[in-house]
Symmetry: C2
Subunit: 406 residues, 2 copies
């Protein structure tokens, strides 16, 4: 039997899905599992998008243009323009999810061995795509103490080598919920300009900013127009993760032309998803207002609740629908398994994502978890109580107080 | 401005799409272009698939399982079992088109520099995905004189080196329409076994076999169960290219587990496309019978017609909906442009794919074109007459008779 590839061996298994068998076993025992582990929102997809798919008149489900339907690209360009992102439809390639946009960008910009700096903790799959492209990910540490703010320029400068070719940010951030200010983005702009780097900006959570904070796109930054790649997706924006529609956006014509060759190789993005996404552009302002209000309340419920638990630290996120909390435990991986395998509180337990999966270095995230506030408020209240009792019970187990095994 | 990657530079531009501007200009002049250049069928998608999407009751378009919906995988396993392909749903990963299945396989099996032998001419995008994975494609020549039959074992043996790690076939073949016999497949099996190679079998045209010929899957071959990867897609089978649903199928558990890591990184295949694909499994036998009858008539019309043109050779394909013809010209790229730019017959012209794009070596395909018989019979008759007159007119142009420039 021939051996599998080195990249195949190096690819990370999903850190979240590792816990799935434990959750399934808990459910079989009759325990209700509160899923705070994944970014699958329960929010309804806009009716206008659902209806457009239901009312489609296709008799042949044809390939679309490799860059996506022109009418959708024009609509999307207008959406961006309304958000101070001046791009034309010819600067957009519709992709199969944000994932594919990221992949096209990594393949088109980086040679094997090139270095990409990413503020840590970061979305696990950045690593997976970097491995596929042969990129060396160089994490730059952001800390829970500073609310996961962008690390200072000096921290980036220390990491820059002749192989550094780009910086990747997620704004607002998954897993941290951090939202970068104009000043932070201008710091980034200066670094990018000074070292002539690509700046990949994953802005799929753009519409989820709270407390009146404005989202500032990397596409607004002056002087690095040829360096910026916007990674986008409808998955979270319209709660339609399954549509698998994203976008690769750049004003760099050579890069766009290169990404188009990757787009042509895979023929086209999904037709039905494009129908849904184009229609979703008509979602009324009230849709986003209602969704944002809902998420803000959920965030307040969860984060304020967490901070009432002794020993728990959780900065208040300004965007997205995640938070990272530090818990009074040794090893979050072990604790998350324990919650599913051994614990219940009034018939419930909590499933969370151990933060180790979001760090390139194993150390700093060891006591941290990511929580997605994608459940209704009363379930989040229940989750906080579960966690409070879980932490108390866990602290009483002598074996668990011992240092975790590697 | 930072430079783009070497792989980005190496990626081929679509050889078909190069001609698009010429076709658009012809249309602007009022010439009707008969599109024999692409594999986008005009056949209706099964009504049961279209209706399933129209009647879907989703209120949240969620991610599916990374391997695809279990109910669809179970249905697909039953479809395979009915075709002498014994696999379970746990040996299937639903992918975003056949393209993604191919990509997962290449990434999971091959290290950069590994060699993959492919009978030539072959589907252009095999090259594109090989470049992405850093694979060296080693073409093994099949010839129009032999109807693009599988080259003899000795031809493969000559090409095998310590870096050879796999063979990729397309059966029935795009662009040739060749259908491999059991004997040809057993020849392949012996080579695969002797050298412990992976065998990728792209069988997306499985349902399109003519004149009573049976399709034999590489999954039926004994003794190489751990070596075979089946690449599949609903695009052609149900004329729903835009659904973007394919499948990666293998009985090699380690390989499947590795491919799953790539599948998890991109989260999930498209939800709507899966709804359509699962429903399409209920398409009645009469659907395939009618479609096959239609394609067989089209094939006969086109291929018999082509062979009445002086100097044209076109073997009768046994499967898929393509044929490769050799024309009495110097350079098919130049001729295909000329047909669009300078020629018309009764207000029509023909758009074909120059075969050069399907060969790794530039020479042997220089006088060949690929034609897809995806139009109604009367249009194919018209296309043959266009081509007959076109070739006559082209032969009278002195400049065109001169050897083509490089």
């Amino acid at each position: 039997m021939p051996s599998i590839s080195k990249k195949g061996q190096a690819m990370p298994a999903s850190p979240i899905r590792k816990l799935v068998p434990y959750a399934e076993a808990a459910k079989k025992r009759g325990v209700e599992v509160l899923h705070l582990n994944i970014g699958q929102p329960d929010i309804h997809t806009p009716e206008v998008a659902l209806e457009a798919v239901r009312n489609n008149k296709l008799s042949v489900v044809e390939y679309s243009h490799s860059a996506g339907n022109e009418s959708y690209r024009k609509g999307l360009a207008a959406y961006y323009q309304a958000r101070r992102i001046p791009v034309s439809h010819e600067q957009i390639i519709i992709t199969t999810g944000g994932s594919e946009a990221l992949f096209f960008g990594m393949m088109a910009c980086f040679n094997p061995g090139d270095e990409l700096i990413i503020p840590e903790p970061f979305y696990t799959n950045y690593n997976a795509f970097a491995i596929q492209a042969g990129i060396t990910v160089v994490p730059v540490r952001s800390t829970i103490q500073e609310g996961f703010a962008l690390p200072p320029a000096s921290a980036f400068e220390k990491l820059i080598t002749p192989r550094t070719k780009g910086i990747l940010i997620c704004n607002p951030g998954n897993p941290t919920g951090a939202l970068y200010s104009r000043q932070e983005l201008e710091t980034l702009r200066d670094i990018v300009l000074k070292h002539d780097l690509f700046l990949f900006s994953d802005e799929v959570y753009r519409e989820f900013c709270y407390d009146g904070a404005a989202h500032i796109s990397a596409m607004e930054l002056k002087g690095i127009e040829q360096n910026v790649v916007l990674i986008d997706s409808v998955s979270k924006r319209y709660s339609m993760c399954g549509a698998r529609i994203g976008a690769f956006v750049t004003r760099n014509a050579e890069l766009l032309g290169t990404a188009m060759k990757f787009a042509q190789a895979r023929l086209s993005p999904p037709t039905y998803g494009q129908i849904a996404s184009e229609a979703a552009l008509q979602a009324p302002k009230s849709y986003f207002e209602a969704v944002n209000l809902e998420y803000r309340e959920r965030r307040n419920t969860l984060v304020n609740g967490l901070n009432t638990i002794p020993g728990v630290t959780c900065p208040m996120p300004k965007g997205a629908f995640y938070c990272v909390a530090e818990l009074p435990i040794d090893d979050a991986d072990r604790f998350c398994v324990w919650l599913l395998e051994e614990f219940e509180h009034k018939g419930h337990t909590v499933m969370m994502a151990p933060a180790s999966g979001f760090y390139a270095h194993p150390g700093p995230g060891k006591k941290q978890v990511r929580l997605a506030y994608v459940l209704e408020k009363h379930k989040l209240e229940l989750a906080v109580e579960c966690l409070r009792h879980g932490l108390e019970a866990y602290a009483r187990i002598p074996a668990m107080a011992a240092p975790a095994k590697a």
